[in-house]
């Protein structure tokens, strides 16, 4: 399992704009639903007859015009029936209708290799009227920037969004939104940090998470807006293999050369860390043949930089036959948990030998283990070998 994390910077830009935000408007969704069901353009008469209880048809046409204004329907000419638009189809899927609102907005932008250049959230300045919103834009902090000639050109991604009409989804609320128009200049607000996390399990696709909180404009009913989203992995990740990333991290963390890691991974057909037996310092590592590898902070061309991390449960493999044999002998000694006789020790050796399929270690014979026990009488294992040997259980019938 690979887990990589870093903090990314979120820019907040306050600007006057018309932004359509997803709202629950069931009366308009009903029109879109009718257009979808009939799969043909709707006329004012259609709407009146089906949904408005035979009100005058002019009322039906005004409803159609309003739906066109909201982007739910589209017509080819200046008048006449209108059909379901792509935005209308999207609205049916999300259950929300993009309702344009003109005002002062704070638009949050992310710029990270793992994220599409994009707008991640919008927040309207809440004021009784437009005059107050404009005043808000000229609040003391903003005013200072303006006074200092710090008014900024609207960032490109925002302008492009207005041009393309792309519908975004807020990472904070999940609401769809669409930048319809935006003025050319605005003010950069405070910078926020969000944490981006890559979780990648073997044999699975990488998962991308964005977490943290964004500072809201004053007067919007709260100071922070929480972000906790699972994002679709982007191209830099999907174009990379788990194994390559794992080996790169392992090489950085273990100090073992990449070509050596590559060799043993290919040879074993698994992701493994070749090690000298003596480098396994803890009994737990030796017993499990796995260890945690600490990976320093490092940078990838396509993925960007990540904080220091840990590769957990890295399988280890002896780097040569001699180390494999040392390891096997250690296993044999460690595996004696109770009084044992030679037949059991040989069987234990045979079973443990199978943990080294890529090497040719020879297990210790029971007599060798007995010698070791005599030489190490303080060991708990020694008792399990010496007592049965001294007290007749090793004797052949």
């Amino acid at each position: 399992m690979i887990t990589l994390e870093r903090n990314i910077e979120i820019r907040a830009f306050d600007v006057e704009a018309t932004i359509a935000v997803g709202r629950e408007r069931p009366e308009f969704l009903a029109i879109a639903q009718l257009a979808s069901q009939w799969n043909r353009p709707l006329s004012g008469e259609d709407v009146t007859r089906e949904l408005l209880g035979n009100l005058p048809k002019q009322v039906g046409w005004r409803v159609v015009d309003r739906c066109i204004a909201l982007g739910l329907l589209e017509r080819e000419g200046p008048r006449g029936p209108a059909r379901l638009s792509e935005a209308g189809r999207a609205a049916l899927e999300t259950g929300q209708v993009l309702v344009p609102e003109e005002g002062t907005w704070r638009i949050y932008l992310a710029d990270d290799p793992l994220l599409e250049p994009r707008l991640i959230h919008v927040q309207r300045f809440v004021s009784p009227d437009a005059r107050h919103e404009r005043q808000g834009l000229r609040s003391p902090s903003h005013s200072r920037q303006l006074d200092q000639g710090a008014e900024h050109k609207t960032p490109g991604p925002i302008g492009q969004a207005a041009q393309t009409g792309q519908v975004w989804s807020s990472y904070a609320t999940g609401q769809p939104f669409q930048v319809r128009t935006v003025t050319g200049k605005g003010v950069f607000a405070s910078k926020d940090k969000l944490q981006i996390t890559v979780d990648w399990a073997p044999e699975a696709s990488p998962e991308l998470f964005l977490r943290g909180k964004l500072e809201l404009p004053a007067g919007t009913g709260g100071k922070w807006c929480n972000i906790d989203r699972t994002l679709p992995p982007t191209a830099p990740l999907t174009s990379m293999s788990y194994d390559d990333l794992w080996k790169r991290l392992l090489a950085e963390g273990s100090g073992v050369r990449s070509n050596v890691i590559d060799h043993w991974c290919k040879y074993s057909g698994r992701l493994v860390l070749p090690v000298l037996f003596e480098q396994c310092v803890s009994d737990k590592e030796r017993r499990e043949m796995r260890r945690e590898v600490a990976v320093p902070a490092l940078s990838f061309d396509a993925l960007g930089s990540f904080d220091a991390s840990t590769l957990a449960g890295v399988e280890m493999i002896p780097i040569n036959d001699e180390d494999a044999e040392d390891w096997l002998h250690w296993f044999q000694w460690d595996g004696v948990k109770d009084y044992a006789i030679p037949e059991q020790l040989r069987e234990l050796g045979r079973l443990l030998r199978e943990r080294f399929p890529h090497h040719a270690p020879q297990p210790l014979e029971p007599e060798d283990m007995l010698i070791k026990a005599v030489e190490n009488p303080e060991s708990a294992v020694a008792r399990f070998l010496l007592a049965p040997s001294d007290l007749g259980l090793w004797r052949k019938p």
């Binding site: 037949e343 009488p377 010496l386 007592a387 007290l391 007749g392 019938p397």
Partner: protein, 503 residues
């Protein structure tokens, strides 16, 4: 004046003593001699040294089995052996069993339990110790398999190695190997607990494989599955023709072996039984004595051995169920030379053992110490003496001048736990005294007028008798005031039908 006189009476006691141990001679320690393979316990502590030396000379392995371990020097030897790389294996009885037996058996000092625990704590983690309630065998083997040597002991590894009357038998190499095999059998098959570390006993799990019972019959054992020791002892008893000598600390009256010994005694074969004078063995020794066996005892006997015409052996087992049928016990059958040594030794004991048991010996047949069989040495010791004096109540004679004729008083019974060939009763005869309210009896005399030429009749006067005479309760008393008037008092008393008294 008349003084009381002393009187006495001698009564010879022809009764029988209750079942008891009769002191034959002084209790003395055994000689400590070595007779062939047999080692006795003596003042030089040679037997103790045999075991310590065996441990000190071990190079690879020491195995030892004992009911309890309370010998500091031997423990130090074991620890020294461990320190030089020798593996040490121990079997002992369980702590609870040790505590129970020590509490109930007078051979042990209560402090031995604590000593046993303290020494095991010292050994914990250094030697491999297992225990079970029924472990009772006592032996020690050094280097089995390579240079086997060892000892079978009737003594536990405690003070008994220096103070008791015990036997050790030096094992031949084959016997030592066989002892080691039986040790293994008991260690793997019969132990309940294993001492892992100080104060921590763990239940024993099944062994990785079941050890084979030794094929060698060099030694005889009792285990939960074997009773060859019992069978051999029974054979020796039944095949005794000219004499049967059996030493055992414990004996149960209802055990087959004891019954067989009684039968043998009844058949006319001289049977000598050696034991310790304890209440626990009394039912058995009563049975055996009644059958005609000679029962001898020593205050410190703990050895278990048997000699008969059919063979001889030394063993750890007592002649009771917990020993011959259920324990882990071990015995070594002796060859003819060793058997002869054992017989010689037992005959020495026959001469030197201080106690003999009798069911109902006439008191007149024994002088000196006895031990009441139902009480044991701690509280049952009494003495049979030649004469015992008992003070009887004084008697008052009928007449102060006839003390010799006073009747014999009621003689008290002699105390039940007092044993004497005869009892001397002594009492005092006291002269009678004038009753307090007695009134003097006077006599009348005529007194002539003293004037010249008086023709008046003499007057009558009342005067005292000499000696004085008194009456009380219809009885006449003559009071003797001084010894010089004894004759007059006698005459007067006889004349008046009274008795002579003093004031």
């Amino acid at each position: 004046m008349i003084a009381p006189i002393k009187k006495q009476k001698l009564v010879s006691d022809s009764s029988l003593l209750p079942p008891c141990w009769l002191r034959r001679g002084p209790t003395s320690d055994d000689t400590g001699q070595r007779q062939g393979r047999l080692q006795r316990i003596g003042p030089d502590h040679a037997a103790h040294s045999c075991l310590v030396d065996a441990v000190d000379n071990a190079e690879e392995v020491v195995i030892a089995s004992t009911f309890l371990l309370a010998d500091l020097a031997l423990t130090e030897s074991l620890l020294n052996a461990v320190a030089r790389g020798v593996r040490v294996y121990l079997l002992t009885a369980s702590d609870t069993q040790v505590a129970k037996v020590v509490r109930e058996d007078e051979q042990f000092d209560a402090r031995m339990v604590e000593e046993h625990k303290r020494l095991l704590d010292r050994l914990a983690g250094r030697v491999l110790l297992r225990s079970a309630e029924h472990f009772h065998a006592k032996f020690l083997v050094a280097d089995p398999g390579s240079a086997p040597s060892g000892w079978l002991s009737t003594a536990n590894f405690n003070l008994a190695l220096k103070k008791s009357v015990e036997l050790l038998v030096e094992l031949t190499p084959a016997e030592a190997d066989c002892a080691a095999d039986w040790f293994s059998w008991a260690f793997w098959n019969e132990a309940d607990k294993e001492l892992l570390e100080k104060g921590r006993l763990a239940a024993v799990k099944l062994p990785p494989t079941r050890p084979k019972a030794p094929r060698s019959n060099a030694l005889l054992v009792t285990t939960t599955e074997h009773q060859m020791l019992r069978a051999e002892v029974l054979r020796l008893i039944r095949e005794a023709k000219t004499e049967l000598l059996v030493s055992s600390y414990g004996m149960a009256a209802d055990h087959d072996l004891v019954l067989a010994m009684a039968e043998k005694a009844r058949s006319g074969v001289p049977v000598v039984v050696y034991t310790r004078p304890r209440p626990a063995v009394v039912p058995a020794v009563k049975l055996l004595r009644d059958a005609g066996a000679t029962i001898l005892a020593h205050d410190k006997l703990h050895a278990k051995a048997i000699w008969s015409d059919a063979g001889a052996l030394v063993m750890s087992a007592n002649l009771e169920r917990h020993g011959m049928d259920q324990s882990f016990e071990m015995g070594v059958a002796l060859g003819s030379k060793d058997a002869a040594d054992l017989k010689r030794l037992l005959l020495e004991w026959k001469e030197s053992f201080p106690w003999s048991f009798e069911l109902s010996a006439p008191i007149q047949s024994h002088l000196g110490e006895i031990c009441l069989s139902d009480q044991g040495l701690r509280s049952g010791r009494r003495d049979v003496i030649e004469e015992h004096t008992v003070a009887a109540a004084p008697v008052v004679a009928e007449d102060a001048l006839l003390l010799d004729r006073a009747p014999e008083p009621q003689l008290p019974a002699a105390p039940a736990d007092l044993f004497a060939h005869r009892v001397r009763y002594e009492w005092e005869v006291q002269p009678p005294k004038l009753p307090r309210n007695a009134k003097e009896k006077l006599r009348q005399v005529e007194v002539p007028h003293s004037g010249k030429g008086s023709s008046k009749k003499p007057t009558k006067r009342e005067v005292s008798f000499e000696p004085r005479l008194y009456r009380h309760g219809g009885q006449t008393y003559v009071m003797l005031e001084e010894l010089g008037s004894a004759d007059a008092a006698r005459i007067l008393a006889d004349k008046q039908g009274g008795k002579v008294v003093i004031r």
